[in-house]
Point group: C2
């Protein structure tokens, strides 16, 4: 049977009500719900909430907004999972007070109403007021005033009990540190500075530009087998570095970039400058990644005995092997997922708490749901940015299963009406309860229309739009140089891949 009161459409929430909505420490959260019952009585509505770790339940009164919608504010002070529910019931005192005042003002006899009020105040142990109200020798006005005077409503509010108390289901709220929703990101290839030594020296300039987060594309050894050359040619020349995303070891550092000590000094210097380092978490392997030998069961096999490399027909990525996250053996799956978790723990032990996740939409949602929860159990301050430019339902679902931030369609929203409706959607749409936008005016490989055709003015305009349209935004390596040479007339990509190697020198 449904409750005496109806409590519905509770926000913030996820569509499945099983995954948490999101908030950040110290920010006010508006909790809203439809609350109503039959008839015309007045209701009292509360949001009851706590940090799951602390179990410190407390209540906040909600107020009616319009059309049976109620709102109350909570302000979580600790990281991690919180719970909340809506509690509502009929406010007998407010109902009585409202009706007796209307009748009194209409000149109607209120003798019985005064006795009813006296009984209610008596039950609440407000003896003096109760006695005055019941005293027929007193003038009606005096009796009424003793039942509605200042303090009585407040008393009932703080001693509320209901005949018809109704609770909503319990909802979950995940509370992140502020960097999960706020920050300026700067992408940076350490190779362009000759490795972590030079990169560390660049950090001052990056900090001076006002960035909060320095994001590094993969810093790992790059596969040699099937390595690609410039502009996606099949055969690499002897000096071609290959694609950093053709990873030959997820817990190693590319020899060209330096040692772990160099990396640790780089992280430390960034922190000293008030910045954080974000690493790329790209779960895919070069042909000579050790997993292909140690765990061939983690990959897709073909009837000719080969392991399947990445394809998006007719495109082929011979230097990259996708992982099979649902291998036939469940033991293999458990081992694989645990190994993926180990990678994150490894880099967390080197001071990294932000990960930009490459192509999460090509890995199972169940994997992300498991992985992010596991990592948050170790450190609830770890932040995951989903690099998914894919279909809108998938992007929202990735946020629902746990990603802290999401890439968006901002890059392709260029007309006033599309900008207006898209900004409105990310700020106030259904998904805004759990999906946080991170606006980037360009991507590493896509030179979008306004940048390609607009020159430095367009670069500045798009940066301002990104920075003011979302509390998190970022730029890719080279953006501040306004690089806008396309690969060809009908190609959205940049002219050549060595741009990553030259741009910072130009900038000096």
């Amino acid at each position: 049977m449904i409750g005496r009161l109806i409590i519905g459409d509770i926000r913030p929430s996820t569509p499945d009500f099983e995954h948490p909505a999101k908030a950040t420490v110290g920010s006010q959260v508006s909790v809203r719900a439809d609350v109503f019952k039959d008839g015309h009585e007045k209701l009292a509505v509360f949001v009851k909430w706590c940090s799951d770790a602390e179990g410190d339940w407390r209540s906040v009164r909600m107020t009616p907004v319009a059309n049976d919608r109620w709102e109350g504010f909570i302000c979580p002070q600790t990281l991690g999972l919180h719970s909340f529910e809506i509690i509502a019931g009929t406010d007998r005192y407010a109902t009585w007070r409202n009706e007796v005042l209307i009748k009194y003002e209409a000149g109607q006899n209120i003798d019985v109403e005064l006795i009813e009020g006296s009984l209610m105040l008596g039950e609440a142990c407000l003896w003096d007021a109760s006695a005055t109200m019941a005293d027929a020798a007193e003038p009606v006005k005096t009796r009424l005033e003793s039942g509605i005077r200042a303090g009585i409503a407040e008393f009932f509010e703080s001693h509320m009990s209901f005949d018809d108390e109704t609770s909503s289901t319990q909802l979950k709220l995940w509370v992140d540190r502020p960097a999960a929703s706020y920050g300026a990101w700067y992408e940076f290839f350490p190779r362009s500075e000759g490795g972590f030594g030079g990169a560390t020296l660049r950090l001052d300039a990056i900090a001076k530009m006002g960035f909060d987060i320095v994001y590094l594309p993969p810093i790992h050894p790059i596969g040699k087998v099937e390595r690609k050359g410039r502009n996606n040619t099949i055969i690499a020349g002897p000096d071609d570095p290959g694609s950093p995303w053709a990873i030959a070891g997820h817990t190693d550092i590319h020899a060209d970039l330096g040692t772990f000590d160099d990396f640790d000094r780089f992280v430390e210097r960034a922190n000293d400058l008030g910045m954080e380092i974000a690493l790329d978490y790209a779960l895919q392997c070069a042909a000579d990644h050790p997993w292909l030998v140690s765990h061939p069961d983690w990959f897709h096999h073909r009837p000719d005995g080969t392991i399947k490399f990445a394809e998006n027909p007719p495109k082929k990525y011979q230097d990259i092997y996708p992982i099979n996250f649902w291998p036939p053996s469940n033991d293999a799956r458990i081992e694989l997922w645990a190994e993926c978790k180990q990678i994150l723990e490894f880099w967390m032990s080197h001071g990294v708490r932000i990960f930009r996740v490459d192509n999460p939409h090509t890995k199972p949602l169940a994997f992300w749901e498991w992985l992010i929860a596991e990592i948050h159990a170790i450190d609830p301050g770890v932040i995951f940015l989903a690099e998914a430019f894919t279909r809108p339902k998938m992007m929202a679902q990735l946020a629902q299963v746990g990603f802290s931030q999401s890439y968006t369609y901002f890059t392709w929203r260029t007309k006033k009406k599309h900008i207006t409706s898209y900004f409105d959607e990310v700020a106030r749409g259904r998904a805004s309860d759990y999906m946080r936008p991170n606006f980037w005016p360009n991507t590493p490989d896509i030179l979008s229309g306004p940048l390609r055709n607009g020159g430095p003015g367009a670069f500045k305009q798009r940066l301002v739009l990104a920075a003011t349209g979302s509390s998190a935004y970022g730029i890719y390596s080279g953006y501040e140089l306004c690089e806008n040479e396309p690969a060809s007339d009908d190609n959205e990509e940049y002219l050549h891949s060595e741009k990553y190697e030259i741009k910072h020198r130009d900038w000096d």
Copy 2:
């Protein structure tokens, strides 16, 4: 852990997913859902459904609409509760077929793809095609064609099995007879024709006007104690009939109107003319209703020993006593609710299967949820129209707990932009899955703006809007006479209550 595939936002559905959405027998129902998974593989999606009474589960293939939204059509043929769920999995054959064709057209080598296809067809026992595909002596084109020729896709479609089959939660669909969503209603006071004898003679004229349902305001004995006079005066004159809603016995017929035999003949004649009778179900009592003596615990008591009559301060309805649907004793509640159900069963035994429910929003939603389910267990063809002109959330919730049809705000939607957005809302809004509008241009007491000021043209225009804007619509007694004299300049009510007694004579 969430499923291998994601299935979400299933429609038709109610917001709480516990109450059923609605459909009618023989009508096509569009079932829609978001279905997607990681990566780029092709999916197969089905809606599986059955009548709960018959358990006749069957499957219909769904097709992609746009942006991961899928749609399939079902057409229930029996009354009552149905169940449905979405089943989805990766379509290995379609995925293979799509990729091999792209590669073949791009001139790539497809030897391994042909072996993969051959193995898949072999697993499906399509031996001939499998052998041809594996035969390296045959030209590639021949081998490919044997794997994609007509019939193979259909074979896989009808023998679909999935490694990653994922089911949604099971949803409910309540299937009504067509009159639940379709029909022209005509309100009619038998008293205006001198009782059921005269009323029976009027039925031909009503049928000729094209109506499907003849709705009667309460036909029960009217209370004598505290009876109201004309225009809400406190004291009734000796010939004043009182308000028919001041009911003095819910299973009796007012002596002025005739006997049960007269009523039965009236119902029979209406049925012969292809019409149905709808009765008013108004759960409230006159001061001399037998329940006030037999079950005083079903009412609200005041400290002065009186039973509380109806009020909406400062308005008082001294001739009507509201029922307390949550009396302090649970046994009393069970007895009361059962008695309310008995009233419906009583009139059902006299051939009535449609009830217009007076003011349902002032009775508990839990009561309606229970009552409608109980009645539908006896006869799933009984139809309940909710007369609630109240807050939108409550109106939708009444529909969610079981009402077949709902009064709407149509009466007050008079400007083009409001008409457009409201028609769109009732036809396509979230609530349209379970809330069916019934449009009435007037109400028994409210003479809305366009009718009051517009004359016969306005009456015709509003009727056409009602009849074309919703598949169910109705008019109150007197509408066809274009009665539009207001009670006073600042009053939306009609001039005098005897209009009910005179209009049909004027019409002849």
